[in-house]
């Protein structure tokens, strides 16, 4: 393993620094320059994390940090709209902003008619045309909570989505953000940047999707910031079906105002190394936050979910359910932090992490981390790790259902409570399809240990 170098000269040479310099030179606005500078400075200061960092203990990313990721060459994609339908999660219907290797493609995008004041646009054009709309929000959450890759993103990000819902507006139509990585002969990295601002008493549903077209090595490192205004309702979905050779290191930072409701559904099906960092700050009373997750890994893949729910004020409930299905020699990591600040009385936080290990070689590292400074709260957490239930398998087979089908049915059943909470019909139907396709490829089921019941 290479040792960490924290000198400027080493980072100077890094392609990210060159990207930063190019991006910084292209902008006239001082505030954006300072955002980029602050990002590259943080990266320069800290360098890449290693396994000595507590937050990265179980997720080795040497394969990522030792790879030179260049900037994708942006040429007009040969894809046409109808091609999207054939891709997993490629066509969820309705408004879809499409990005190829991080760059907005207006040809492939479909943007419906929204009420006056609603903005659904790509970030780079908003930064060019009306930066004042973005300035109060951009990096305001990620700078505080983000890690190194968030900092790199701030320094070099090129494009992404800007979604603004004014006060009292309800956007019924789902807003889809589709990030497609195309084929490249050498490793490339893209840093999508999404900003979602929901005004008070507004509603919106946003689906972020990440897919890869080819089994090539690339890095996608998106950052999404979500501002949920007073009494607003925001449902967020992230469907990750990157190539199995790709790396995905994503961050989402959310802040919830009084009486707002935010839910996140993070589905990870792809990627060689996948990491999702989510932080939610409950900053107004009676705000309600739900973080749900589901991941499926095979081979030697790693899926790491780090979540933080910060209860800063009284009377907020939060719910969290993460479920993992691991086979072969794959690895799952779950770290669920819940902070309950001194003022946050009557907090009601519930966290569950369940993992299904389908092979002897699969591993899960799960760590609930509750830090409670208030005295009148209810916080529960539970982690279970299990295998398929032999009695359930026998029951299904005894009714004529074949062994493979019975296993897949039980695995699906394990995931079903997360799946059933997905309200976007098209996304759920696609997920069902993808899950069954991937389960059918799973070879290394180990026989569950025999359980014996007493003869009666």
């Amino acid at each position: 393993m290479t040792t960490l170098t924290r000198t400027n000269s080493s980072v100077d040479e890094s392609v990210f620094f060159q990207r930063y310099q190019r991006q910084a030179s292209q902008t006239d606005s001082a505030w954006l320059q300072s955002i980029r500078k602050s990002g590259i400075d943080r990266f320069t200061m800290s360098g890449y994390p290693t396994r000595r960092d507590e937050e990265w203990r179980f997720t080795p990313i040497g394969a990522i940090t030792e790879t030179v990721f260049t900037e994708p060459s942006h040429h007009e994609s040969s894809l046409i709209k109808s091609d999207l339908t054939g891709l997993p999660f490629g066509d969820l219907g309705g408004t879809t902003l499409v990005f190829i290797d991080g760059k907005f493609s207006s040809n492939l995008s479909t943007i419906g008619d929204f009420e006056t004041g609603v903005v659904v646009d790509n970030l780079s054009s908003v930064l060019e045309n009306s930066p004042a709309a973005v300035q109060p929000y951009l990096t305001k959450l990620s700078q505080k909570d983000g890690g190194v890759f968030t900092a790199i993103n701030a320094a070099v990000f090129d494009d992404g989505a800007f979604i603004f819902i004014p006060d009292h507006k309800v956007v019924e139509e789902t807003i889809n953000l589709l990030y497609i990585s195309s084929q490249h002969s050498s490793p490339v990295a893209s840093f999508p940047r999404n900003l979602i601002v929901a005004g008070s008493n507004s509603q919106a549903t946003i689906v972020e999707t990440y897919i890869g077209l080819a089994e090539s090595v690339y890095l996608t490192s998106p950052v999404t910031e979500v501002f949920v205004g007073e009494s607003a309702i925001v449902d967020h979905y992230k469907l990750q079906q990157e190539s199995l050779t790709a790396y995905h290191l994503g961050t989402m930072n959310v802040t919830l105002a009084k009486s707002s409701v935010f839910s996140s559904h993070g589905i990870t099906l792809g990627g060689s190394i996948s990491r999702n960092d989510i932080s939610a700050y409950l900053g107004g009373e009676y705000a309600e936050c739900t973080l749900n997750g589901l991941y499926l890994a095979n081979g030697r893949r790693i899926v790491d979910n780090h979540t933080t729910i910060d209860h800063a004020v009284p009377n907020c409930p939060s719910h969290e359910v993460y479920k993992g299905i691991l086979t072969d020699n794959s690895r799952g990591v779950f770290n669920g932090k819940i902070f309950v600040r001194e003022d946050a009385q009557k907090t009601d936080a519930k966290q569950t992490n369940k993992t299904l290990l389908l092979s002897d070689g699969a591993q899960i590292y799960t760590k609930p981390q509750l830090e409670i400074f208030a005295d009148d709260v209810r916080c529960t957490h539970g982690a279970t790790i299990g295998q398929l239930d032999n009695d359930q398998l026998f029951y299904l087979q005894a009714r004529g259902i074949g062994k493979e089908d019975a296993r897949n049915l039980l695995v699906y059943a394990f995931a079903s409570d997360v799946i059933n909470k997905i309200k976007v019909e098209s996304a759920r139907a696609q997920l069902d399809k993808q899950l069954f396709q991937q389960l059918a490829k799973v070879q290394s089921y180990d026989e569950p240990e025999h359980e014996f019941s007493e003869d009666a």
Partner: protein, 256 residues
């Protein structure tokens, strides 16, 4: 040819011998009751016939439709018409009752070269059978057995039997935990499903169920063997005299 021929079947679990030579012949259309105390091996026999692999068969043979049953996978036995109504039906959270039953029925139909039923055809069949068991339709949309009462679970077993239409039904203590009303409904369901061809093996502790499902033959199991067989009057005799008198007759100590 008999439907089922069990010959000198011996089996053990964790090295402990449970079946010590069971002989049983069942013909189409017959109803056999197997009675006996806890631990006599009744449920083991039922589970081995259905294909549970936690038992080791150490001797003897089982022939079903002229074939070696023990060579068949569990699901193939089911598709060939063997149905076990479980003593303890398992709960399967996340698997919808309708989806499960449709998958099962279509797996069986496919095995016999029949077309799979579409959603409408399936629903029509299911509704008809639900009436038979006086089941609430809402149970269909719930996960398999999850949150069902004991009686609902047992009724659900017989309902599945009604839909899957087996050749050989094995009811493993379907009466246990049922109050008399539920027992009547379940027994009534079994009786209405009689078609003169289906063979049924009813496993029970008590004679009570046999008032409603009248057997052609009654067998008494003790210590892993069938020690006495007779007509339905044997069940009454057991109810009256208990099992101790058979101990002397069979030369077997009755387990405590």
């Amino acid at each position: 040819m008999s439907l089922l021929e069990v010959h000198d079947l011996q089996a053990e679990i964790n090295g402990k011998q449970i079946l010590k030579g069971v002989n049983l012949v069942v013909n189409p259309g017959e109803t056999h009751a197997i009675m006996g105390l806890n631990g006599s091996g009744k449920s083991t026999l039922a589970n081995i016939l259905a294909g549970r692999d936690s038992y080791d068969v150490t001797g003897g043979s089982v022939t079903y439709k002229g074939e070696d049953l023990l060579e068949l996978d569990t699901e193939v036995r089911a598709r060939e018409g063997i149905f076990l109504a479980f003593q303890y039906p398992v709960e399967i959270p996340g698997v919808n009752n309708t989806y499960f039953l449709k998958a099962a029925l279509n797996a069986i139909r496919k095995h016999h070269g029949e077309d799979e039923l579409d959603a409408m055809e399936f629903l029509t069949l299911v509704k008809e059978k639900m009436k038979l068991l006086e089941m609430e339709q809402s149970l269909l949309n719930r996960p398999v057995n999850e949150g069902f009462s004991g009686g609902e679970k047992k009724r659900n077993e017989i309902f599945q039997m009604a839909v899957l239409d087996p050749v050989l039904a094995i009811l493993d203590e379907t009466d246990s935990g049922l109050d008399i009303d539920a027992l009547k409904i379940v027994a009534n369901g079994v009786n209405k499903l009689k078609d003169g061809k289906r063979a049924t093996i009813v496993i029970t502790h008590y004679q009570r169920l046999l008032n409603y499902i009248v057997p052609d033959f009654v067998h008494v199991m003790m210590n892993g063997r069938i020690v006495k067989s007779g007509g339905k009057e044997l069940a009454y005799e057991l109810e009256e005299r208990g099992y101790n008198w058979l101990e002397a007759e069979a030369g077997e100590p009755v387990p405590a």
